[in-house]
Symmetry: C2
Subunit: 149 residues, 2 copies
């Protein structure tokens, strides 16, 4: 596996591209996990599979809040294009935070998360318009190092 670091714009930070849309008519929140870039910044080992875990937090007891993409073979850019739907009212959604984690799964199905982003949904709009954005991922190894200082 070769990590391509030609893209100087992306060096130093892994990013995830997410689109979100609230469907007011059906009271459904759609989360589209599009792709990852610069995955090597999360200190990935070879021969791993990478999936993205998405959680709408805090979890409601009444509906699903945790979703996972299929695992893909590690590479510096990974395209998922998977959509997940959470049933939730718009006022409730505005109290939630979307937690997005990039995780590896080993052969014994153990999941280890390498980094993540948190997206506050306090100002999510109900118009049905899709918001598509790139989010920087903070490496957990980096955070652990910082906490030890």
């Amino acid at each position: 596996m070769v990590f391509d670091s030609d893209d100087t714009e992306a060096v130093g930070t892994a990013k995830v591209q997410i689109a979100m849309r609230y469907d007011d008519k059906n009271k459904q929140f759609a989360i589209l996990v599009i792709q990852l870039s610069n995955v090597s910044a999360l200190l990935l080992q070879q021969d791993q599979k990478v999936s993205i875990r998405v959680a709408v937090l805090p979890c409601s007891d009444s509906s699903s809040c945790l979703f996972r993409t299929r695992p893909l073979d590690a590479a510096d850019s990974l395209v998922y294009n998977e959509v997940f739907w959470a049933s939730i009212s718009h006022p409730a959604l505005r109290h939630k935070t979307l937690r997005v984690d990039v995780c590896t799964v080993d052969k014994s199905h153990l999941e280890e998360c390498l980094g993540g982003a948190q997206i506050s949904l306090a100002e999510i709009c109900r118009s049905g318009e899709k918001s598509t954005r790139w989010y920087n991922l903070l490496s957990y190894k980096y955070q652990q190092k910082q906490n030890r200082k």
Copy 2:
């Protein structure tokens, strides 16, 4: 101390209001910590002081990345209106994540953080326009409970 929970819109989630602006001329990033609402959702004890810790992550060795507001006596709404400046180029800033933590400080000056938000700066604009938003705070006690499940 009485926690006022009349604001039904805010019940269930503590929120922080942050304004950000990038000054391209002076290569400075301004972070204005405006206020907290619904602090009681973070399970605050009485007689504590509350401050907000702001970090521009990952930290650069060359400039300050960690800032703290003054501590205020705990109440359900707290107005800080403190501004912090980080010296950073715009391309570097776009790889950063702003971590905002709400922390208490006890009499022996020990800091305990109760909750936080992460704000990706991947799409921060360089125009000098101020972006002012409310962000939901995720409670760390809630997250620890979830991790144990």
